[in-house]
């Protein structure tokens, strides 16, 4: 097992390098650049822009810029933001807790509710509950998140005045846990709504597939009761695709939710990414791409290990 993990970690090094090269190249190939923000300002002359280009190191060929950035990364220097001159790692780390909190709570809530709905739907296939859950999931998946977000704000913040319409804290209440929870409710629910829909569908289909297997019929034939059949026989088998799904969704813990964070003014990674993209903050974008790539690799590795632990037929070798 250890040697397997070691090998996977080693394999991820060229993968990360590849991601960084592609990310860097795509960013520089896209039209426009960080200096575009200056070009429309009439007081900024061409000479001013050229000077800023040199100060930011953007006058050098792209491969030289890449090597400078990559050698910095290799020594733990994530670079500095173009605008503000702050260390990139610090800029990313200061947003991480907010995103972990929002995504963590939304994911946990969604998985809990989604799996429950999915299992019940599979067990009572085509029942009224199943049909309601199916259509509910379709509605949740079909409407854009920003619509749900605006609706939730309109209803709970503006019309009813029960909850704050955005942000993470009441100003000056940064240490108040209850206040944080109040701010978390709306974005968490809106985000969880969509994730719940996804998980309920996956869970339902995973369980349906398992429940029609021969060993389930055998279990029933030997007199096992329904809860035992579900827990002992169906669950471990149905979990495999769900764990794989979890592995895929884990990076979202880091990358955050662009739309939800923007609508609710949640100070997380999604917002940072949107802002960095608008400003073409290459160092921040690269930092976030690398973090996300890392999480994808870790998420998949964890999923693979979990699946091997669950299923004796899978050997990690």
């Amino acid at each position: 097992m250890l040697s397997y993990v070691g090998r996977r970690v080693l394999q991820s090094v060229p993968l990360l390098i590849g991601v960084s090269i592609i990310g860097f190249a795509l960013m520089h190939l896209a039209p426009g650049g960080p200096l575009a923000v200056y070009t429309l300002n009439p007081t900024i002359t061409n000479q001013d822009i050229e000077r800023i280009r040199i100060v930011l190191g953007l006058d050098q060929p792209v491969h030289i810029q890449y090597f400078k950035w990559a050698s910095g990364m290799a020594t733990g220097n994530w670079g500095y933001t173009f605008f503000g001159g702050r260390p990139v790692l610090g800029v990313i780390l200061e947003r991480m807790p907010a995103t972990f909190l929002l995504m963590g709570s939304a994911l946990s809530l969604a998985i809990l509710i989604g799996c429950t709905i999915g299992v019940l739907g599979a067990v009572r296939r085509y029942s009224v509950f199943d049909m309601m859950a199916t259509s509910g999931a379709m509605v949740a998946l079909s409407f854009p998140t920003f619509w749900f977000g605006l609706m939730a704000i309109y209803l709970f913040a503006i019309k009813l005045g029960w909850l704050p319409s955005g942000g993470m804290y009441e100003l000056g209440e940064e240490d108040n846990l209850l206040d944080l929870v109040r701010h978390l409710i709306l974005p968490c629910l809106v985000l969880a709504l969509v994730i719940t829909a996804v998980w309920s569908r996956y869970t339902r289909s995973a369980f349906l597939e398992v429940m029609h297997q021969d060993y389930m019929r055998t279990a029933k034939a030997k007199g096992l009761r329904a809860p035992a059949r579900l827990l002992r026989h169906a669950l471990p088998n149905a979990l495999k695709p769900l764990i794989a799904l979890l592995g895929i969704e884990l990076p979202a813990l880091f990358s955050g939710a662009l739309v939800t964070e923007t609508i609710f003014g949640w100070p997380g990674m999604g917002r940072l990414f949107v802002d960095a993209l608008n400003m073409k903050e290459y160092p921040v974008l690269m930092g976030m791409i690398m973090f996300t790539a890392l999480f994808v690799i870790v998420g998949n590795l964890v999923a693979d290990i979990l699946i091997a632990l669950l299923d004796p037929r899978v050997r990690l070798s």
């Binding site: 009439p42 900024i44 001013d48 709970f156 503006i158 923007t262 609508i263 100070p267």
Partner: protein, 547 residues
């Protein structure tokens, strides 16, 4: 689906609400409506977040002006009437008070002697000198050196006196200093690289407030500077809050979660609702930007000024403002807002006249061809119009003008592109036919328009300037050269009135309307002065207070 539709309550939203309601009730939360005003603080909400607090290095005007005005001061400010008023300087230099020499070359600046940095050190001429040296230092990513590049000699006479010699007389020089706030020499002189200095995140200035806390992505909290040289602020705390979605920010202004909604303002279609609120004031503020149709005068279709004027004449400018911008823009006949001191009031409206436009094109020799499109000497009166893609209001404007032009036998094709493409070389190398664009004057809010209209400022020909319409007129050149040397405001007014008159006749760019922003504040918040001379909605923050 438009975001505005999203705010109408429907059965679906009630369903969503129904799902969440028990949880909310379980929380037993208090009402957002019942918030009483906390008179110890003012919360300003904006859709954008500043990332650069060093006044030398900021990029985003409007947003990054806020940390600047909280923590720093310029030598002088500009008030809501467009007059310079002293700040760190004891008085604004003029010819009359002897501050500017008769030939306009030497500027003598006297500084206040009672100003302190918030770390207790005294402010002096050395700080102004250091600021100037930083601005001309090629290693520092200063956004603009405009005006400072005319300085031939900078001399510190004593702690409160400076003498600056220019290499040519340049009246808008005052704007250069207005745009650059002064930084402390004693804290920054020893910094190896100001671009990456840790000071930039926690700066020390002379301003009315000091940065106490910053929560990235959320808000910044400032505490009052009790020793501020223009008098301590009337409230203890100033909070700059960032709410990225405009509709959500508007919602917060309604619930009272923010006291004052600045950038990007109340959405145009909600101004009526905002005006009707009993306990709020909608402050409509002219912005520096005027929206134009830019003609590329070097293209064969647009060489003749009569064609450009006829095309302008055919456009329903006022209708475009009323229908597309809900009447929130103000019709202007010039590159200045009608509220600007140098605006030429005598310019007459001549648009929305398709008959006159057709007659003018006939006279100029553009006859309708077999395909219904006018032509002359083998050139068809057919062209593209470009702007930023995905801006519905601008697309609506383009569509209206397209119809207007079609009626007089002119074919326009809409060709919109992403911002970083359309405003790149497509504009700066004058590759476009026409563009729909909003631009501000070029030297602060001074009426000087050399960079946009002087024949030596065509980047395609001289490699400098921003005369992207490639317009050339000898009289305009002369007037623009004269305007920047005239010290008397009345003389300048006449000069720029004539410039505007010629531009209205020859139309290298056809003005549509001056942009306005609707800021929303609580009625009790006093002292806010809307101005068209800066995009900084908090320019006089030290005068604000609660009634």
């Amino acid at each position: 689906m438009s975001a505005s539709n999203g705010l109408r309550l429907s059965r679906r939203s009630a369903l969503v609400g129904g799902l969440a309601a028990p949880l909310v009730l379980a929380e037993g939360v208090r009402s957002g409506h019942a918030q009483a005003i906390n008179k110890e603080r003012v919360i300003l909400g904006m859709t954008q977040e500043p990332v650069q607090f060093n006044p030398l290095l900021w990029v985003n005007a409007g947003t990054e002006n806020i940390p600047e005005v909280c923590m720093f001061d310029a030598l002088w400010d500009v008030d809501e009437k467009g007059n310079f008023i002293p700040n760190l300087a004891a008085k604004v230099p003029t010819r009359e008070n002897g501050g500017i020499s008769a030939d306009g070359l030497v500027w003598k600046i006297e500084l206040r002697g009672d100003v302190k940095w918030t770390d207790g050190q005294a402010f002096s001429a050395k700080d102004v000198e250091f600021t100037y040296q930083s601005i001309i230092n090629p290693k520092i990513a200063i956004r603009s050196r405009s005006g400072f590049d005319f300085i031939k000699n900078f001399k510190v006479v004593d702690a409160t006196h400076i003498e600056i010699e220019l290499d040519r007389p340049y009246i808008p020089f005052a704007w250069a200093w207005q745009n650059m706030h002064i930084v402390p020499q004693h804290l920054l002189a020893s910094e190896p690289d100001i671009n990456k200095s840790a000071w930039n995140a926690q700066p020390v200035g002379t301003g009315p407030f000091m940065l106490k806390q910053r929560v990235a992505g959320s808000h910044m909290i400032y505490e009052r500077n009790p020793n501020y040289h223009r008098g301590a602020a009337k409230f203890r705390q100033f909070i700059h809050k960032f709410v990225p979605d405009q509709l959500v920010l508007y919602g917060q202004a309604k619930t009272g979660e923010v006291d004052y909604m600045g950038l990007s303002g109340v959405p145009s279609d909600r101004w009526g609702e905002a005006r009707a609120m009993a306990d709020r004031d909608l402050i409509t503020t002219p912005q520096p930007w005027v929206q134009f149709i830019y003609f590329n005068c070097a293209k064969p279709q647009f060489k003749d000024p009569k064609v450009r004027k006829a095309l302008t004449m055919a456009c329903e400018m006022q209708k475009s403002i009323d229908d597309v911008y809900f009447g929130t823009y103000k019709r202007t006949q010039s590159y200045l807002q009608p509220s600007h001191w140098a605006y030429n009031d005598s310019l007459k409206e001549y648009t929305a006249d398709p008959v006159g436009a057709a007659r003018m094109l006939d006279e100029a020799g553009w006859k309708i061809g077999a395909d219904g499109v006018r032509e002359k000497d083998g050139v068809k009166l057919k062209f593209t119009c470009s702007t930023t893609a995905g801006n519905p209001a601008r697309q609506g404007t383009q569509a209206l003008f397209q119809q207007n032009w079609k009626k007089i036998g002119v074919e326009m094709e809409i060709k919109n592109m992403p911002a970083s493409v359309v405003w790149g070389e497509y504009t700066t190398k004058s590759q476009f036919d026409t563009e729909l664009v909003a631009w501000e004057p070029t030297v602060g809010m001074d009426p000087d328009y050399t960079a946009r209209a002087h024949s030596k400022q065509i980047p395609n020909k001289t490699g400098m300037g921003s005369n992207y319409s490639q317009y050339e007129n000898a009289e305009v050149d002369k007037l623009l050269e004269l305007g920047v040397t005239q010290a008397n405001t009345e003389d300048r007014k006449k000069t720029y009135a004539r410039v505007q008159e010629i531009l209205a006749e020859e139309v290298p760019f056809a003005p549509q309307g001056g942009t306005y922003q609707g800021n929303l504040k609580k009625k009790q918040l006093q002292g806010i002065k809307p101005t068209g001379y800066t995009v900084n909605c908090a320019w006089n923050l030290h005068e604000w207070g609660w009634a």
